[in-house]
Symmetry: C2
Subunit: 237 residues, 2 copies
């Protein structure tokens, strides 16, 4: 009987992990749709990304209820408790990734109304890296893979560097022609949202690492977004 | 003996609540410092806000450890469990409010390098309302006050409206003179950060309400930030 209970608890933990990877898959596809909406000017993809958000929110609530039920009925200890608390925090991070993707998708619809004076190469590159990190970290959740978590944690710095370069680039376009200002501001916020999605992937990496290993990944995280300090002036001010 | 244990658990829950209101007080002061840094061009306040961030992060970790200990040793049920899970989520929201305040403070230092062509009345108004909501929601946490939670939840819409107006106003300044572009972009991100702080106060309101009442506040939340769809064009494009 005791063994039966133990086995069933293991199944419940597996079920929790499955719920989270399912939620991860949903926001992964939301981010892919939102990126396609921006890069390929695909309005249908934008709508799909926005429409997907309520289902992501609903799954977050389902995970939360499941976690509260597990805590109440199973009264887990040590490693199990760590996994369950991490699951609760991961689901919060995934929900916010979904929110950022929705915001990117909405802004893509505004961009469609403007002729952009340049290609979106930098943004496309950034969005590709963010999506790769997101995919890797969702795999890491499903496989309790700390190597993959470390890989994501380390590669966030590159995303931040691209974001910083993009920030300055977009400002120069705005200075060249006031008609570029509105689309470039939306692109700035889109890039910032992608950078935040990358940040949340990094947060999840820390949670996965801690849940599996029982010790924090590190106190100091690579923080590459220096745009808060960026000063760009017109050529002849 | 059993009564002693019960009493001690109540004390532990009080201690958890005290830790969270302490953290709330810290981020409240961080937001006040960051706002003063922007509105009054007070570089010392900016440094204080940035310097406060590690202590906020440390307190978040302390709350988390305390929650995990409570869950493991006390195995709480029903309302207590709800309060503890809410506490964990509130501490996450407070930590992010601290992050946003830090980002505002950093950007204020860039603003000091520019002569702004206008007053910061709108931003000052917005920052005052955000600070009021933050204060009210931290009181609500300490007093389990769902009326105050509701008050915060309802008043977030006004903050969003001011933000939307500010968004458009800042874009027009950028169109008037390319020298305004860099400072106005930082002001845009500052306003966005304040709007996000207001959003997190609203999230906390929902958590307080749920923890105390045992039912969600509502499925539909007033969402007033429509700036993702904003289009502003130069007068003669």
């Amino acid at each position: 009987m005791a063994e039966h209970i133990v086995k069933s608890f293991e199944q419940e933990l597996k079920r929790l992990q499955a719920l989270i990877t399912e939620m991860g898959g949903m926001v992964e596809s939301q981010v892919a749709l939102a990126s396609r909406a921006v890069i390929d000017k695909d309005a249908a993809a934008a709508s799909q990304a926005v429409d997907a958000d309520p289902a992501v929110d609903a799954l977050e609530r389902e995970v939360e209820q499941y976690v509260i039920r597990l805590l109440a009925l199973r009264q887990p200890l040590a490693q199990d408790l760590r996994h369950i608390v991490a699951a609760l925090k991961i689901t919060g991070a995934l929900e916010r990734i979904g929110d950022y993707a929705t915001n990117v998708a909405k802004r893509s619809l505004v961009l469609d109304q403007f002729a952009l004076p340049y290609t979106l190469t930098g943004l496309a590159h950034m969005s590709r890296l963010v999506q790769e990190n997101l995919k890797t970290i969702i795999d890491a959740i499903g496989e309790n893979d700390t190597d993959k978590a470390l890989q994501v944690w380390r590669s966030d710095e590159v995303i931040d560097e691209i974001y910083n370069a993009l920030f300055r680039e977009l400002i120069t376009y705005m200075m060249e022609d006031p008609r570029n200002i509105t689309p470039c501001i939306h692109l700035l916020f889109i890039a910032k949202n992608l950078e935040r999605i990358g940040d949340h992937a990094t947060n999840i990496a820390e949670l996965v690492y801690y849940a599996v290993r029982g010790e924090p990944l590190a106190d100091i995280r690579p923080k590459g977004d220096s745009s808060a300090y960026a000063v760009v002036r017109p050529p002849r001010a």
